[in-house]
């Protein structure tokens, strides 16, 4: 091995140890379990290696199909909203003005509150009798109050609202870091050339923050596909399975029902969907890096 490679390996070793032990091994275990039929409460059935059976069952499971639809709907709705709002926040925070520090701290509040806490908060807000949501919409006229958490159509929207509220700051932070690496000279040069604010945004800002945006997009998509805490606290998958996202379905199978093999297969399913989406994003990221204005 070249000495620089050896050195690189040394630099990487601590990461490899942690990641290998606490991430690779558990994931490998999950993969392995997905090929077994393992029902903890029925030990006499044994831990039989059943090959692809869990996966074929998953393929024909109507609950899993609906769960996939719910999860995908969740992802395609939250991601654009988070990116849009996050980008907007970052642009404002990038400007120099008094109180900017305070605004930045405020922006991080939604992200900083533990999800299990903010989900209780949203449950309280969306309550059909004494919640803020209804009060804002209908004032004191309680007879017109809605019950979002009880409605199979509105319930997913409440989860989306709770999620976007929380994660737009995350996007904002990443995009902000990207914005701050753009030198002022580029903007000055552009405005000397007569570019409007919008044109500067389109031709200077956007291309240069594309890596940051795509990084945020990448991690947010992966996280959105795995959303769990919000559903766990706010709706427990209901009503009528309307918010039964894949992670929650997998959790119920593994922890509540003891069907470890099947639940692991669901987890692997989520993983595969994430993987495919990520590869797509990374292709876009790679081509954007080639296109970027050379500095």
């Amino acid at each position: 091995m070249r000495s620089s490679h050896r050195l690189a390996f040394l630099f990487l070793l601590p990461s490899l140890i942690f990641v290998g032990l606490f991430a690779f091994y558990p994931i490998f275990e999950s993969f392995r379990l997905s090929f077994y039929r393992s029902i903890l409460t029925l030990p006499w059935l044994g831990q039989k290696m059943v090959g692809w059976e869990n996966y074929t069952d998953l393929w024909t499971d109507p609950v899993a199909a609906q769960s996939l639809r719910t999860t995908v709907f969740f992802v395609v709705t939250t991601i654009p909203l988070e990116l849009g709002i996050g980008l907007g926040m970052a642009l404002v925070m990038n400007e120099v003005f008094r109180g900017r520090g305070l605004l930045r701290a405020i922006v991080l509040i939604p992200w900083a509150i533990p999800t299990v806490v903010s989900s209780q908060m949203w449950r309280f807000i969306f309550n059909d009798r004494y919640g803020l949501f209804n009060f804002v919409l209908f004032g004191g006229d309680a007879s017109r109050y809605l019950a979002p958490l009880a409605d199979p159509i509105l319930a997913p929207l409440t989860i989306i609202v709770a999620e976007v509220w929380k994660t737009a700051p995350f996007v904002a932070l990443i995009v902000l870091a990207g914005l701050q690496t753009i030198p002022d000279e580029l903007y000055e040069a552009a405005s000397i050339d007569g570019a409007t604010v919008w044109q500067q945004f389109r031709h200077v800002t956007l291309p240069l923050i594309r890596p940051a945006l795509l990084l945020a997009l990448l991690f947010r998509t992966i996280d959105a596909l795995r959303v769990f805490d919000l559903v766990f606290v706010m709706t427990q998958g209901g009503p009528a399975d309307a918010t039964n996202v894949l992670s929650f379905y997998g959790y119920k199978k593994i922890f509540a029902e003891g069907m470890v093999g099947y639940g692991s297969a669901i987890a692997v399913g989520v993983f595969l969907v994430s993987l495919i989406l990520s590869l797509v994003y990374l292709q876009i990221l790679k081509s954007s890096r080639l296109e970027r204005t050379p500095r």
């Binding site: 690189a8 091994y25 275990e29 004191g140 737009a168 000279e185 987890a267």
Partner: protein, 271 residues
């Protein structure tokens, strides 16, 4: 003038977006038990401190916050330390398998955490690290390394080579080049990554629930999950606890965001 007005409007808009739900909850913490679930809801509370007293004295909120700070702080420190070293290697050493490794790290964060909770618990049990800070910290480090490494690698890649090359020619070791030159310039990235890792660890619930069952060690999310009774939902205490728990975080972010700005001022080595 127009710019200032626009900024003001947007800032207020952002402030409302971020604060209103939280403020509503915070205001709830000052209500009396009767006002809590009044139908229709009351906006302005009558400033009772009962819920705060209950949250602090009877529920030991401060201990939960302290535990969260210890666990999240340690995990962040170590994760950033080993993550930045790894990121430097990935950004600089022109290794043929850099992208494969990054993709592998990414793949780790794609796996639903509830599925790996079981095996992780098993592993910690074998190491006898259950109900210890180090057990949970180790798990959190592993879970945050992908995000930290990605952010830091992206940042390090942006740092131009010239100054480092100069230092290396002058006889600096690779590590010194990393430590003395690249790190100081990359503070925006480092502070960003640190903040995100810290908050991820701060928020995490499920692993903490099953790893720490000793009441003296439990972190904030688990602590607050312990508030509800079998059939009672103490909105007041939860609101009080949430309001209090956010204070250290606001302080932390005020501290960190200055670091992001400082990094910009000091290290704008572009083009």
């Amino acid at each position: 003038m127009k710019r200032a007005a626009m900024l003001a409007i947007f800032s207020v808009g952002i402030g409302i977006y971020c604060l209103i739900p939280y403020l509503w909850f915070a205001l709830t913490s000052w209500k009396s038990p009767a006002e809590l679930t009044a139908i229709p809801p009351k906006l302005i509370p009558s400033f009772h401190w009962d819920f705060y007293r209950s949250a602090l004295e009877e529920r030991g909120l401060l201990r939960y916050i302290a535990n969260s700070i210890i666990v999240a702080g340690t995990a962040t420190g170590i994760a950033i330390a080993i993550g930045s070293v790894a990121a430097y290697a990935l950004a600089r050493f022109q290794l043929p398998w850099t992208n494969a490794y990054l993709l592998l790290l990414l793949a780790i964060s794609m796996f639903p955490q509830i599925a790996i909770a079981g095996p992780v618990w098993n592993l910690l049990n074998h190491l006898d690290w259950l109900n210890t800070y180090r057990g949970l910290v180790a798990a959190y480090i592993a879970l945050s390394l992908p995000l930290a490494t990605w952010i830091l690698t992206t940042f390090f890649r942006e740092v131009p080579h010239e100054i480092e090359e100069a230092a290396l020619i002058d006889g600096c070791s690779r590590f010194q080049a990393f430590y003395k030159i690249v790190l100081p310039i990359s503070t925006p990235g480092i502070f960003t990554a640190a903040l995100l890792v810290f908050i991820n660890a701060w928020n995490e619930f499920f692993f903490a629930l099953i790893v720490l069952t000793d009441p003296n060690l439990q972190t904030l999310p688990v602590g607050i999950a312990l508030f509800p009774g079998e059939y009672t939902m103490p909105w007041g205490e939860i609101a009080a606890a949430s309001t209090l728990a956010t204070v250290p975080l606001i302080l932390l972010t005020l501290l960190f965001q200055r670091g992001i700005v400082r990094g910009l001022a000091a290290g704008a080595v572009k083009g």
